[in-house]
């Protein structure tokens, strides 16, 4: 009886440990188990700059959603964004791909617009800006001056 109790307790701890690990990996990985809340909008970018699924979307630096998918569509990057339900995006809002720091990870920053029209779920953010390619800019200044 006593032996059974010890084995039972150890088993419980092991299961609790596995559950904790699963919870951590889901939370840290930014995965959603049962569907996801909020709504989706998409945007076309001439260059995704290495943006990945799960990258964050911010307004004024505050995270308001995550990237659901990045696909190629007619040689452009089609990015589907999952936004929090309470976030409303105006029709003339601009979605720009930015880099954390100079070489950090990529994220999308949305600057709200002036329009009274709100983009509905499944709608498109028309105004997009690809990431600024610092390497290319630099090389232009370095090699462009050759006379």
């Amino acid at each position: 009886m006593r032996r059974f109790n010890i084995e039972f307790t150890v088993g419980l701890f092991v299961i609790a440990g596995i559950l904790c690990l699963a919870y951590l990996s889901i939370k840290l990985g930014g995965m959603e188990l049962i569907g996801s809340k909020g709504y989706d909008v998409y945007a076309l970018f001439s260059n995704s700059g290495g943006l990945k699924q799960g990258s964050s979307i911010v307004i004024a630096g505050v995270e308001v959603g995550r990237i659901r998918s990045v696909d190629l569509d007619d040689y452009q990057a089609r990015i589907v964004m999952n936004l929090n339900e309470d976030v409303k995006i105006q029709e003339d809002a601009i979605a720009a791909i930015k880099t954390k720091g100079l070489i950090g990870e990529k994220f999308i920053e949305i600057t709200p617009g002036a329009s009274e029209k709100i983009i509905p779920p499944g709608g498109k953010i028309r105004e997009t800006l690809p990431p600024v390619d610092f390497e290319q800019l630099l090389s232009k200044y370095v090699f462009g001056k050759v006379e």
């Binding site: 105006q90 003339d92 601009i94 720009a96 600057t111 709200p112 617009g113 002036a114 009274e116 028309r126 105004e127 800006l129 690809p130 990431p131 600024v132 390619d133 800019l137 232009k140 090699f143 462009g144 001056k145 050759v146 006379e147």
Partner: protein, 199 residues
Amino acid sequence: MRRKGWIGIMLLALWAACGLDPVWAGVPTEKVKETTDKILAIVGDPALKDPAQAIQRRERIRKAVDEMCDWEEMSRRSLGRHWAKRNEQERKEFVHFFGQLLERTYIDKVEGYSGEKVNYIGERVDGDYAEVDVKIVTKENTEIPVLYKLRTRDQRWWVYDIVIEGVSLVNNYRTQFSDIMAKSSFEGLLKKLKEKTAE
């Protein structure tokens, strides 16, 4: 009965003529090219090179740009969500000073023109919106990508944003204006614009 049919056909023709057909509105690339050519002609005009003609030259460039740019739309988008809270008078004032600021900032650059080539790469039309891809080739053979964003208003194409090297004019001012608005007020922003244009 026959007369009714005729009226129907005439109404249909009228509707087709008035509809916002992209062909009717004029090809976006042509709109951009027309203005660019006009500006290049003014900048390259030897009769206007004289410093005494500087004011006249500026005026003519501004007039050419006016025919292409939708200042109100640019101002509205640049001010962003603060636009809705402004009354008619404040908006008018803002459009005026913002236009002057852009004129000051960009005409200086245009006046420094020295034989750069302008290549038209392509355009994309999506309903009432269009994008025109342009590459400016400098004398050192450096290519500068410029993207004009246009939309139709009054059956014409108007530029509402210019993206140079992936940096949008509207987004640039939108972030700056919202910074200023967060720190001070709309009056403060107007004051800053006035100071900038009076310099």
